[in-house]
Symmetry: C2
Subunit: 215 residues, 2 copies
DNA sequence: AAATAAGATGAATCATGATTCACTACTTAA
DNA sequence: TTAAGTAGTGAATCATGATTCATCTTATTT
């Protein structure tokens, strides 16, 4: 016997693995999963194409890990907003704000996470991701209905609908800073942005409370 | 000179073209654009693979035509519902019903039209498709706001939100008869279906009117 | 029937991008 | 220093599915 894995080599290996994950993440933030080819990732990470495969069994697995970690961060942020103190309405508004601010700050990433087609494995992960949001909302609605703050309604439908609203108004094809990637005034001013989010929040609150809502 | 196109051959050519479109459509209804490869389409239409290319310059163009015609039919149906007589609320409910019934009847098609990733050309068509719905809703909202039936709100946001609600609750990953394709009780009973649509409609109406709504 | 223009065929080609692998370069333990 | 194992390299291979094209068929006119 003449060689065994040691702390030093293990650390180095882990560091490279991390570097690959970082590179993949940054490419996804820039151009979605589409533009994150294995060779591009390897190049950005400063390793050879083949090396990616000594750290991840396949591109799908790598993507899956990138997706999950990005996703976890996002859901946790929204969960924080939902689990504050205060009325259900107030917390719903906070959740919408939280999601929206983040989505508008990194539109490509938001799109990659919520809508971009990737491959069956990541698509399955996305199912869980959207479900995670829906479940946050469902619990919130349950609480509101139970306390009488909200009228009786189908929690599962309302929760899915809330996810759909945010996806479509902020991330999807109809979102304002949508597919006009190239030319023009990309980022809307902070004021416009707040107005947009206000409108969305108002819509959501009215939908679940059945009462006119101003801000 | 010894040959020129005649009525008979022209008709035959048109018929084959039609047959290819039909075949493509039926494959999309069955398995989405994903499963509609050129060779599968040709086989189903009873022609050779290469023949597809004497009727369409590329697969994208074929898909685009399939997409547009399917899409036009759907939007027209919803437009009918929107342009009925009656209150804005009633017409909104009718539109939601119309869209929902059709989406639940052909879930694969609905998914292909509203959400399935295809290629840049079709994705651009889809943009128009979603916009078409949004515009129907926007006009309806305008009318409601103008007449005082609806409170002031951002029409564009509300319209996009309505599209998002229907996409997510009926077609998207959180939709009830979702990705569980293989095993089980696919189609929900008519009663469950109506309950689902009622919930969606109620949600939509409350969102735009700000008033509790029962059915 | 013969000549000629289209149309149809489907196997071969191309394009893309993931995955492999023969080889080189390190690391470690003796 | 050397033997032995491990990691890194990137060009070659593979897989998939759209597209082409040499060849064969069919239709039309004379």
């Amino acid at each position: 016997m003449a060689y065994r894995e040691t702390e030093k080599t293990k650390a180095k290996k882990a560091e490279i693995r991390e570097r690959i994950l970082l590179a993949a993440h940054s490419l996804v933030v820039k151009g979605g999963f589409r533009e994150a080819s294995v060779s591009a990732i390897a190049k950005q990470a400063g390793v050879a194409t083949g090396s990616v495969y000594s750290h991840f069994p396949s591109k799908s697995d790598l993507f899956s890990e990138v997706f999950r970690s990005a996703t976890e961060r996002e859901v946790n942020k929204v969960a924080e907003a939902v689990h504050q103190d205060g009325s259900v309405t107030k917390r719903l508004v906070a959740a919408v704000y939280c999601f929206s601010k983040r989505a508008l700050k990194s539109p490509r990433l938001a799109w990659a996470l919520i809508a971009e087609p990737v491959d069956p494995q990541v698509d399955a992960d996305r199912l869980l991701y959207r479900h995670a949001y829906a479940e946050l909302f469902e619990a919130l609605l349950e609480e509101g209905i139970h306390s009488g703050e909200l009228p009786l309604q189908s929690k599962s439908v309302s929760a899915a609908a809330l996810v759909g609203i945010m996806a479509e108004t902020l991330v999807g094809p109809l979102s304002p800073p949508s597919r006009r990637e190239l030319h023009d005034n990309a980022t809307p001013s902070i004021l416009d942005e707040d107005k947009l989010i206000d409108s969305i929040a108002r819509f959501c609150v009215q939908a679940v409370t059945g009462k006119e809502h101003r801000l």
